[in-house]
Protein backbone atom coordinates (compact mmCIF):
# COMPACT_ATOMS: atom_id res chain seq x y z
CA UNK A 1 0.00 0.00 0.00
CA UNK A 2 1.31 3.42 -0.99
CA UNK A 3 -0.91 5.90 0.88
CA UNK A 4 -1.73 9.44 -0.21
CA UNK A 5 -1.43 11.91 2.67
CA UNK A 6 -1.91 15.62 2.15
CA UNK A 7 -2.45 18.66 4.35
CA UNK A 8 -3.59 21.53 2.16
CA UNK A 9 -5.58 24.76 2.04
CA UNK A 10 -7.24 23.95 -1.28
CA UNK A 11 -10.50 22.00 -1.55
CA UNK A 12 -10.27 18.34 -2.57
CA UNK A 13 -12.16 16.30 -5.15
CA UNK A 14 -13.84 13.21 -3.69
CA UNK A 15 -14.54 11.63 -7.10
CA UNK A 16 -11.02 12.11 -8.43
CA UNK A 17 -9.43 10.82 -5.21
CA UNK A 18 -11.72 7.77 -5.17
CA UNK A 19 -11.02 6.98 -8.82
CA UNK A 20 -7.27 7.18 -8.17
CA UNK A 21 -7.47 4.25 -5.72
CA UNK A 22 -8.63 1.82 -8.39
CA UNK A 23 -7.10 3.33 -11.53
CA UNK A 24 -5.23 0.73 -13.56
CA UNK A 25 -5.91 -2.17 -11.18
CA UNK A 26 -8.56 -4.87 -10.84
CA UNK A 27 -7.85 -6.19 -7.32
CA UNK A 28 -9.80 -3.51 -5.43
CA UNK A 29 -13.18 -4.79 -4.25
CA UNK A 30 -14.38 -1.78 -2.33
CA UNK A 31 -13.53 1.75 -1.24
CA UNK A 32 -15.00 3.20 1.95
CA UNK A 33 -15.04 6.95 2.41
CA UNK A 34 -15.54 9.50 5.14
CA UNK A 35 -16.06 13.10 4.10
CA UNK A 36 -16.10 15.57 6.99
CA UNK A 37 -18.01 18.80 6.29
CA UNK A 38 -18.15 22.20 7.95
CA UNK A 39 -21.54 22.79 9.61
CA UNK A 40 -23.03 26.25 10.24
CA UNK A 41 -24.05 25.59 13.88
CA UNK A 42 -24.96 28.65 15.99
CA UNK A 43 -24.41 31.09 13.11
CA UNK A 44 -20.88 29.93 12.39
CA UNK A 45 -19.35 31.85 9.48
CA UNK A 46 -16.11 29.93 9.09
CA UNK A 47 -13.80 27.39 10.66
CA UNK A 48 -10.10 28.18 10.76
CA UNK A 49 -7.91 25.09 10.96
CA UNK A 50 -4.36 25.28 12.31
CA UNK A 51 -1.80 22.47 12.24
CA UNK A 52 1.80 21.69 13.21
CA UNK A 53 3.68 21.43 9.90
CA UNK A 54 5.88 18.36 9.95
CA UNK A 55 4.40 16.70 13.01
CA UNK A 56 0.90 16.62 11.52
CA UNK A 57 2.02 14.76 8.40
CA UNK A 58 4.11 12.36 10.53
CA UNK A 59 1.21 11.70 12.87
CA UNK A 60 -1.14 10.95 9.96
CA UNK A 61 1.43 8.64 8.38
CA UNK A 62 1.71 6.79 11.71
CA UNK A 63 -2.09 6.40 11.95
CA UNK A 64 -2.30 5.15 8.34
CA UNK A 65 0.48 2.65 9.09
CA UNK A 66 -1.50 1.34 12.09
CA UNK A 67 -4.56 0.85 9.85
CA UNK A 68 -2.36 -0.94 7.30
CA UNK A 69 -1.20 -3.37 9.99
CA UNK A 70 -4.76 -4.19 11.09
CA UNK A 71 -6.51 -4.47 7.72
CA UNK A 72 -5.34 -5.69 4.29
CA UNK A 73 -5.68 -2.38 2.46
CA UNK A 74 -4.90 -1.97 -1.23
CA UNK A 75 -4.80 1.81 -0.83
CA UNK A 76 -5.55 4.66 1.55
CA UNK A 77 -6.02 8.42 1.19
CA UNK A 78 -6.12 11.04 3.92
CA UNK A 79 -6.51 14.68 2.90
CA UNK A 80 -7.02 17.27 5.63
CA UNK A 81 -7.60 20.93 4.89
CA UNK A 82 -6.18 23.81 6.92
CA UNK A 83 -6.86 27.52 6.82
CA UNK A 84 -10.31 29.10 6.47
CA UNK A 85 -13.16 26.71 5.64
CA UNK A 86 -16.73 27.83 4.98
CA UNK A 87 -19.97 26.05 5.94
CA UNK A 88 -20.75 23.30 3.44
CA UNK A 89 -17.13 22.82 2.43
CA UNK A 90 -15.16 19.65 3.02
CA UNK A 91 -12.68 19.59 5.92
CA UNK A 92 -11.28 16.07 5.74
CA UNK A 93 -11.41 13.13 3.35
CA UNK A 94 -10.56 9.57 4.37
CA UNK A 95 -10.62 6.73 1.83
CA UNK A 96 -9.78 3.11 2.56
CA UNK A 97 -9.62 0.56 -0.26
CA UNK A 98 -9.45 -3.21 0.10
CA UNK A 99 -10.43 -6.45 -1.60
CA UNK A 100 -13.49 -6.74 0.66
CA UNK A 101 -15.92 -4.31 2.23
CA UNK A 102 -15.43 -5.13 5.91
CA UNK A 103 -11.74 -4.21 5.87
CA UNK A 104 -12.44 -1.00 3.92
CA UNK A 105 -15.31 0.11 6.18
CA UNK A 106 -13.56 -0.71 9.46
CA UNK A 107 -10.27 0.87 8.40
CA UNK A 108 -12.07 4.04 7.32
CA UNK A 109 -13.83 4.34 10.72
CA UNK A 110 -10.56 3.62 12.56
CA UNK A 111 -8.72 6.27 10.53
CA UNK A 112 -11.17 9.09 11.19
CA UNK A 113 -11.48 8.20 14.90
CA UNK A 114 -7.70 8.26 15.28
CA UNK A 115 -7.28 11.42 13.19
CA UNK A 116 -9.72 13.28 15.43
CA UNK A 117 -7.79 12.40 18.56
CA UNK A 118 -4.15 11.94 17.50
CA UNK A 119 -3.41 14.31 14.59
CA UNK A 120 -2.32 17.82 15.59
CA UNK A 121 -5.03 20.06 14.14
CA UNK A 122 -6.96 22.76 16.00
CA UNK A 123 -10.28 24.30 14.95
CA UNK A 124 -11.26 27.88 15.68
CA UNK A 125 -14.86 28.91 15.02
CA UNK A 126 -15.65 32.39 13.68
CA UNK A 127 -19.15 33.76 14.17
CA UNK A 128 -21.11 36.69 12.79
CA UNK A 129 -20.15 39.87 14.64
CA UNK A 130 -16.50 38.94 14.97
CA UNK A 131 -16.64 36.61 17.96
CA UNK A 132 -14.49 33.48 17.87
CA UNK A 133 -13.99 30.36 19.93
CA UNK A 134 -11.54 27.45 19.94
CA UNK A 135 -13.30 24.11 19.61
CA UNK A 136 -12.85 21.95 22.72
CA UNK A 137 -11.85 18.29 22.42
CA UNK A 138 -14.69 15.89 23.23
CA UNK A 139 -14.32 12.96 25.64
CA UNK A 140 -16.72 11.03 23.40
CA UNK A 141 -14.11 11.15 20.59
CA UNK A 142 -11.34 9.94 22.91
CA UNK A 143 -13.59 7.10 24.11
CA UNK A 144 -14.29 5.99 20.52
CA UNK A 145 -10.57 5.88 19.76
CA UNK A 146 -9.87 3.85 22.93
CA UNK A 147 -12.46 1.28 21.81
CA UNK A 148 -10.19 0.33 18.90
CA UNK A 149 -7.71 -0.95 21.51
Amino acid sequence: MDPTIRVQEAPFDLSAETAALSAGRVDVGGIASFLGLCRADDGLEALVLEHYPGMTERAIAGIVAKAGERWPLTGCTVIHRVGRILPGEGIVLVLAASRHRVAALEACAFLIDWLKTHAPFWKREEFAGGTERWVAAREEDAARTREWG
Binding site: Y52, W122, R124, V135
Partner: protein
Protein backbone atom coordinates in the same frame (compact mmCIF):
# COMPACT_ATOMS: atom_id res chain seq x y z
CA UNK B 1 18.86 26.48 23.25
CA UNK B 2 15.47 24.81 23.08
CA UNK B 3 13.08 25.74 20.28
CA UNK B 4 9.58 26.13 21.70
CA UNK B 5 6.47 26.21 19.49
CA UNK B 6 2.95 27.21 20.56
CA UNK B 7 -0.28 26.43 18.77
CA UNK B 8 -3.92 27.56 18.92
CA UNK B 9 -4.84 29.44 22.12
CA UNK B 10 -1.39 28.87 23.61
CA UNK B 11 0.03 30.83 20.66
CA UNK B 12 -2.54 33.59 21.17
CA UNK B 13 -1.92 33.84 24.92
CA UNK B 14 1.88 33.77 24.79
CA UNK B 15 1.76 36.17 21.84
CA UNK B 16 4.25 34.09 19.85
CA UNK B 17 4.25 31.00 17.70
CA UNK B 18 7.87 30.20 18.31
CA UNK B 19 10.76 31.20 20.54
CA UNK B 20 14.26 30.02 21.42
CA UNK B 21 14.90 29.66 25.13
CA UNK B 22 17.81 28.68 27.38
CA UNK B 23 16.34 27.48 30.65
CA UNK B 24 18.57 26.90 33.69
CA UNK B 25 20.06 23.42 34.22
CA UNK B 26 17.47 22.45 36.83
CA UNK B 27 14.81 22.43 34.10
CA UNK B 28 15.11 18.87 32.83
CA UNK B 29 11.61 17.78 31.83
CA UNK B 30 8.54 19.16 30.05
CA UNK B 31 6.69 19.88 33.28
CA UNK B 32 9.66 21.87 34.58
CA UNK B 33 9.99 23.72 31.28
CA UNK B 34 6.30 24.62 31.40
CA UNK B 35 6.67 26.04 34.92
CA UNK B 36 9.77 27.98 33.94
CA UNK B 37 8.16 29.36 30.77
CA UNK B 38 5.16 30.53 32.86
CA UNK B 39 7.43 33.12 34.42
CA UNK B 40 8.44 34.72 31.10
CA UNK B 41 5.40 37.00 30.77
CA UNK B 42 1.81 37.42 31.97
CA UNK B 43 0.78 35.91 28.61
CA UNK B 44 2.87 32.82 29.25
CA UNK B 45 1.43 32.55 32.76
CA UNK B 46 -2.07 32.68 31.26
CA UNK B 47 -1.22 30.09 28.60
CA UNK B 48 -0.02 27.62 31.23
CA UNK B 49 -2.55 28.50 33.95
CA UNK B 50 -4.45 25.22 33.40
CA UNK B 51 -1.72 22.61 32.80
CA UNK B 52 -4.31 19.82 32.46
CA UNK B 53 -5.50 21.51 29.26
CA UNK B 54 -2.00 21.57 27.73
CA UNK B 55 -0.66 18.79 25.53
CA UNK B 56 2.98 18.61 24.45
CA UNK B 57 5.45 17.13 22.02
CA UNK B 58 9.21 16.75 21.89
CA UNK B 59 10.79 16.53 18.45
CA UNK B 60 7.32 16.10 16.91
CA UNK B 61 6.26 13.14 19.09
CA UNK B 62 3.49 13.42 21.71
CA UNK B 63 5.00 13.24 25.22
CA UNK B 64 3.91 13.56 28.82
CA UNK B 65 5.17 16.16 31.35
CA UNK B 66 7.80 13.72 32.68
CA UNK B 67 9.56 13.52 29.30
CA UNK B 68 13.11 14.93 29.44
CA UNK B 69 14.13 18.01 27.47
CA UNK B 70 17.62 19.02 26.45
CA UNK B 71 19.30 21.71 24.35
CA UNK B 72 18.60 21.22 20.66
CA UNK B 73 15.11 19.80 21.18
CA UNK B 74 12.03 21.12 19.42
CA UNK B 75 9.28 21.34 22.03
CA UNK B 76 5.65 22.18 21.29
CA UNK B 77 2.76 23.11 23.58
CA UNK B 78 -0.83 23.01 22.36
CA UNK B 79 -4.42 22.27 23.41
CA UNK B 80 -6.00 18.82 22.96
CA UNK B 81 -6.34 18.27 19.21
CA UNK B 82 -9.65 18.95 17.43
CA UNK B 83 -9.16 18.00 13.78
CA UNK B 84 -11.19 15.66 11.62
Amino acid sequence: MIRVLYFAWLRQRTGTGEEEVSPPAEVHDLGGLMRWLSGRSPGHASAFAAPAQVRMAVNQEFCGPDHPVKPGDEVAFFPPVTGG
